[in-house]
Symmetry: C2
Subunit: 342 residues, 2 copies
DNA sequence: TTAAAAAGGTTAAGCGTTTAACAGAGAGAG
DNA sequence: CTCTCTCTGTTAAACGCTTAACCTTTTTAA
């Protein structure tokens, strides 16, 4: 198929080595100007393009980063993950790196990562994404697998990862900053709309939640916590069902803007108003929040920035594998019009 | 670093070939049961994982598909592209293929694709995405580049590609089906909110638009066409500005749900109601449409299905490079509550 | 005039896997 | 007792590219 260096070399009448030398460093003085022209011409005519794999094999460097997302639900459907990816890609592409996404059919995050890594040797490094619903033992196993590759890697918002590992995390306090804001605004009966119940992330958030209620002297009411799966249908259904039985809440705190938008729709469908009757706060500062009516107060988690930084961390440790860095990103509250004082 | 076959072989006391043979085909009878166990043990202990690049080089097959998106604006930020990607990935991952995204710093789509392809030899095939704002000559050049690789490829919603090329397209009529629906509902003064003005896609849509107006005997009014860049801010601004000068329209037809949501916000901000004063129709059937208030009538383009099919096409032609197929997908109208009879 | 340096290459080994071809030892068939 | 399988391997080349080391010939400097 594609022409090889050797074919170019033959056509020009020189050795493949010379062609390689020139193509990899056009300014070289080990190839004469005339020969350079001939190489260019031959390469053009033969449609030469360098074989990434052969080149990587020889150089021990591939300029390819493996993206490890420990789930086999379809990729590219989740705003949160997409924003992370966007940041990662922006940084990596800027430095000339390619991104590789591996297939995996395994359904548990444990097996899934193992399978993705199985045929991955050759990448220069990896970025491990958090999916939010990995239990802690799986997380630890995933990290272990990654370490075993012997390649540098960084984790992206994976909770409770040892400090010796390159990581960027979005401070967990942020998860309840929305709650804090609502409490400050005088709300006492607040419905929490969280993500998947099992998974380390949610456990952290839950404990923060309980702690904060305690600080404010508000009694725990387990009915006021809804676990969901971040989808619209699910959230709409659960919030609607909740509202048929109880109307005493004055605010809803959601773990994503999408869920906040769904909650908003559910509230509106009962005839209640936002923020008149019920205040709503989201999280992520995604487009969903700005497009909602009323626009949603939310927490900007600088998600794509987190992705960018994780990629930076990885590239750093490609240069200097011995150092490892942790970056903690803080969210900031974006006030719009979905929250009233109570 | 990562252990190699040779290291396993040494530890077990056999040749690397045997290890390879066993690992690639665990049922082989060219390795004894005892040896198999030893290999497993050694592979486990040494954290062996196969080097994708070396393996691909040797086998002439990599199980890697290159994703070519002719733009260097950050990836993973556009719902439309993400939905396409999602379908592509779902199909490819299901068949054990990895996805490779190449970097490129070039800003014109022409140079951009060339650069992405430059170091790509080794992939089994490619999928070329449409960005919607490529001019025709760039498209043709891109296709040419792809052909020059000698590898199979498929194009995904790239307009006017020769029939001999694997492609899935979303029928262009769909682009104006929203318009048709509004006309049928009795609207005559319809604001069109389109995408980028230059680019083959938009030219096609424009001509369909003009044709349809002519059929309905409605005079052309160039002020009723707004070109945008698919972003919220831009759309909101342009529609708002439009509404300050003219209020005689009864409907808005948008090329994406996001733009429709932005238009909706702009309309609401003037105090007018949807669909009371102005009807709005979107396109894509994305979450934006279902979350909007009122939920938007839209055109379901089965985008992720298009991605899936393109991947299927590619895999087919990996098996049988001689055949090529075209798939045309039709959109269907999803009626919700943003359009009134006029 | 001579030594050193520059110019313009070449050779050959190596990267980690795969695979066609080969081969020795034992078992079973005739 | 020989022939042919079957088992269980091994060898060596190949994939396409890179790179350290080497080699002429020509130019330059002193």
């Amino acid at each position: 198929m594609g022409a090889s260096l050797k074919e170019i070399a033959e056509r020009v009448g020189i050795s493949a080595a010379s062609v390689s030398i020139y193509l990899n460093n056009p300014d070289t003085n080990r190839v004469s100007a005339g020969t350079k022209d001939k190489i260019d011409k031959a390469a053009e005519e033969l449609n030469y393009r360098r074989n990434l794999f052969a080149s990587s094999l020889s150089r021990h460097v591939s300029k390819v980063i493996g993206i490890i997302i420990p789930t086999n639900i379809p990729l590219f459907q989740n705003v949160y993950t997409n924003m992370l990816l966007s940041g990662v890609q922006k940084c990596l592409a800027g430095e000339g790196y390619s991104l590789l996404f591996f297939p995996s059919s395994a359904s548990t995050s444990k097996e899934n990562v193992r399978e993705q890594l199985r045929h991955s040797a050759g990448c220069d490094g990896y970025i491990l994404f958090s999916t939010g619903f990995c239990p802690m033992d799986h997380i630890l196993l995933n990290i272990r697998e990654l370490q075993d590759t012997g390649k540098p890697f960084a984790t992206l918002n994976v909770p409770k990862v040892p400090e010796t590992i390159n990581q960027v995390i979005i401070d967990d306090l942020e998860s309840v900053r929305g709650l804090e804001f609502l409490l400050n605004a005088g709300h006492k009966k607040i419905l929490m709309v969280l993500g998947r119940q099992h998974g380390e992330h949610m456990q952290l958030i839950l404990s923060k939640y309980r702690l904060m209620l305690k600080e404010w002297g508000i009694p725990l009411d387990n009915d006021l916590v809804i676990f969901g799966n971040y989808s619209h249908e699910d959230t709409y259904l659960k919030v609607s069902r909740f509202l048929t039985s109880r109307r005493d809440i004055t605010a809803i705190c959601c773990m994503s803007d999408l869920m906040a938008s769904s909650a908003l729709a559910a509230v509106k469908s009962t005839g209640m108003t936002v923020p008149g009757d019920i205040s709503i706060i989201g999280r992520n500062n995604s487009l969903y929040a700005v497009l909602a009516d009323p626009p949603l107060t939310t927490i900007d988690l600088s998600i794509s920035e987190a992705g960018f930084k994780a990629a930076q961390l990885l590239l750093d440790s490609l240069e200097n594998p011995s150092i490892s860095r942790n970056i903690i990103l803080n969210g900031k509250l974006i006030e719009r019009s979905s929250v009233n004082e109570n």
